[in-house]
Symmetry: C2
Subunit: 585 residues, 2 copies
Amino acid sequence: MQRFLPAWSWLRDYDRSRFQGDGMAAVIVTIMLIPQSLAYALLAGLPPEVGLYASMLPLVGYAIFGSSNALAVGPVAVVSLMTAAAVGELAAVGTPEYRQAALVLAGLSGVMLLALGVLRLGFLASWLSHPVISGFITASGILIAASQLKHILGIPAGGHTLVEIVASLAEGIQDSNWPTLVIGVAVTAFLFWVRSRLKPFLIRLGVGVRTADSVAKAGPVVAVIATILAVDLLSLDTQGVSVVGAVPQGLPPLTLPSFDLELWRQLFVSALLISVIGFVESVSVAQTLAAKRRERIDPNRELLGLGAANVAASVSGGYPVTGGFARSVVNFDAGARTPLAGVLTAVGIGLTALLLTPLFHALPKATLAATIIVAVLSLVDLGALKRTWAYSKADFAAMAATIALVLLVGVEAGVVAGVVLSILLYLARSTRPHIAIVGQVPGTHHFRNVKRHKVMTSPSVLSVRVDESLYFANARYLEDRVYDEAVAQEGIRDVVLICAAVNGIDASALESLEALNERLKAAGVRFHLSEVKGPVMDRLKRSHFLDDLTGKVFLSQWDAMAALDPETTRAAEAGERPALSAAAL
Amino acid sequence: MQRFLPAWSWLRDYDRSRFQGDGMAAVIVTIMLIPQSLAYALLAGLPPEVGLYASMLPLVGYAIFGSSNALAVGPVAVVSLMTAAAVGELAAVGTPEYRQAALVLAGLSGVMLLALGVLRLGFLASWLSHPVISGFITASGILIAASQLKHILGIPAGGHTLVEIVASLAEGIQDSNWPTLVIGVAVTAFLFWVRSRLKPFLIRLGVGVRTADSVAKAGPVVAVIATILAVDLLSLDTQGVSVVGAVPQGLPPLTLPSFDLELWRQLFVSALLISVIGFVESVSVAQTLAAKRRERIDPNRELLGLGAANVAASVSGGYPVTGGFARSVVNFDAGARTPLAGVLTAVGIGLTALLLTPLFHALPKATLAATIIVAVLSLVDLGALKRTWAYSKADFAAMAATIALVLLVGVEAGVVAGVVLSILLYLARSTRPHIAIVGQVPGTHHFRNVKRHKVMTSPSVLSVRVDESLYFANARYLEDRVYDEAVAQEGIRDVVLICAAVNGIDASALESLEALNERLKAAGVRFHLSEVKGPVMDRLKRSHFLDDLTGKVFLSQWDAMAALDPETTRAAEAGERPALSAAAL
């Protein structure tokens, strides 16, 4: 049963107490989701009802296949921005082609996620390193906030990069509509106040932390109601305040994404990036929440759940969806116990679409823009730049490049550049591995770096430790370094390569070891290995290297030294004062 | 002095004995180079005299800046093939645009090599792994040999991939020209015979090995003279035998590569590939020959030397050049002692261009094609596929992909795919690192994999060793694996991560270690590290990780076990019979 209906795992034990938790969570998430779904559709360049449609069937799709009990799926800010960027390349906002492309994007993304899930390829998402994701989210937050300022100012403006957006805003700012600006600034200020002051105030009044939090999360709904009333009572829409306008009443239409292959091809890369970023974000929320209840989520089932959600979005007039961070935390805190909470939320949004849409007619776009700005600015974490700089310059470079490219070129360019740069920097590090000449710590069998410790070295044996697997990109460097060290010291008769940190030797590195063996042989120096790991040794035995090796393979470095220079080794073991060796000079 | 004129290093000690060696080598290399330079120009789709031009000034350029005393620079088969592929995309064979593009390619390649040399970026060539180079050379050899069959058959044929070439040959084969075929087959057979039979025969007659080798290397010259005479005497050119025709007499013209930026842009990638492949091939020959005389070459000076050679080719009517393998070995064996041998070879080719070109009029193209075929087939090493398969499946995959793509798509696609695949496979290996649960070897302080050795494990402490640096692509996998192992065993209170083979921890891996620490804490398990390397520890100290760690960092795994489970550790040290532990079950 479980195999054909993954939801069976929670359906079979379903009971009243779970229903109470799920129901309460669904009510709160629905209230939170109504303004969000309208706002994110606006951000994606789509009509507001598309946001509602994307918050119904997709939630049911996720509930059937997903594994998280707390994840709340639907339209989210970053994916909406990416949708606008991808679809905006192919069609103009407001055209049927634009909506059609959004459906294809959701369908394609759904199929990709399902395929990754079936093939169990979820691990591929780990190529998005933490600094790249963090940089991407921060830059997206800034870009989204900037793109919404036009609604606050009540001016037409466009642009996909920060420079374009700012230039476009600067051009139109003198035409700002004052009533719109008042609403926008007031709502923004109110929402920031709710978030930063109301919650602590309620807690001081003795309200529970969770209740205070839920009240704070309802702030946008209060702003929506208040500004609708203001527009209606003061007829602000006749004074230039842009409103949402007529929202069709009713359930989502049945849609079929176009099977125009050219369109699928054009949206392929965008769909892949949306899928991967949506998945990474969603899984990290789901994992964090699951850990709090000692539950586990299954990344491959998450892929299936999100894939089903996106396919559902594409057949019900929606656009790409994923698990939302703030929304899932609310869902979890409000007591959601199973994915049924998502189904109940879908019912709530369905009732809204059936009954409440006429009320949204007078909703100012500035209110929605303010909701988005406050939500996304909480994603911006510039402190992460400083922390990453302190920890690792390479990670900082990947993060900074991602931020700069997202802001100045575009979201997709930013992610791709970040991933490519992370990989190149990782490879660059392994190209110049840490190589240490080691000596024996007096009185022990241990060998340590001559530069970091007081150790004894042999006048005739050079011991070199490489702290990296040997492969094509570092093989020749190592070959030259070891050879140079060996011939630079007078009297060296043996070289021992300590392989304790060598986790692999590829065919190129094998060639280099063979070449090194030959070159040292020509120089009258024998070449030995020590502490070779089992799997590496198994592989070396399948080549001719061990037959040609002028020296031996020793199990431990101590064995090597005891065999090659017993005198120095015994002296060191006895803890005698280290003689001034060639290496120490 | 050395700084402004690198050649000063050998010029200042120059003497008569060196001149004798260099002079003799120059004579032999000149004889070998005449047919080769004509043939490779033909392969590159260029008039024969271009091959001679590319064998003069470039050799002087290399002699001034290069560091190898034996490397013989000039047109080579693989680079000629790559030139034909790159230039053939932009212009038709025989047009002035084609020659102009070849000049630009040489100039661009020269500038790139000089830039890499000045920036000391020679190490970047190590990204071409050994299996990729080996596969590339083998496939190029097959492709070149196939492309020359049309000259042996005396038919017009074309195509850039093996399939195209074979299809084109199959289409024209019934129009084969019999006199051409006779010459082509006879020369091919003669050259194979010289190579495989004449040399052993001469040696048996008591001729020295080196002399026999030099005689065998002169085979192509004999074939050239014999077939020129045959064509002249039998007027074969009137019977359809295609000949080289009029070759302009005289020294190279002074040329200036076009500064059409669009042309430079179009040839950029091709020039880069030609530069890198030419450099890699050249350096490996130079290194091998230098090692035989206990000399060293300087890869960055090699870049400068090859860069100067290519710039020289572009201003003297040539096309891209690099160090040739067979030619350099002949140069070395004939006694070349300094780069002056190259200058003298250039003089020899110059005299040929001034005096002998009228003689080449009646030279059949079939003779040159046979010379190329015999030369390149010696580069084909299909046995390498088998050896690589035995050693490493990943390396085999990179090699096979390179061969398949060179043959079926093109030389550039093959190299790029090989490099990309090598990198991806290397990354894929590090994505799933080897993780071992370890126990104490009874009677020792050593800890080994429970799956490979009889060891004692503690019922309350799980010791895990990771054989890879921790970074974004494997961090989450490791986090899940260690967590799952820890919660799978009843009674585990401590987890120790052994970091002896961890050469780096990036920001993503740090996040995962922090998450693992939190998840284990929630499960009531403390998290410890042991045997952390100096540089890794230095970095961890710059983060908050060590403050939040629920456990400790131990210097050695034995210290960790002695502190966390003294009873089991002492029992193991005393060599008591291992109890059946959870891990061993």
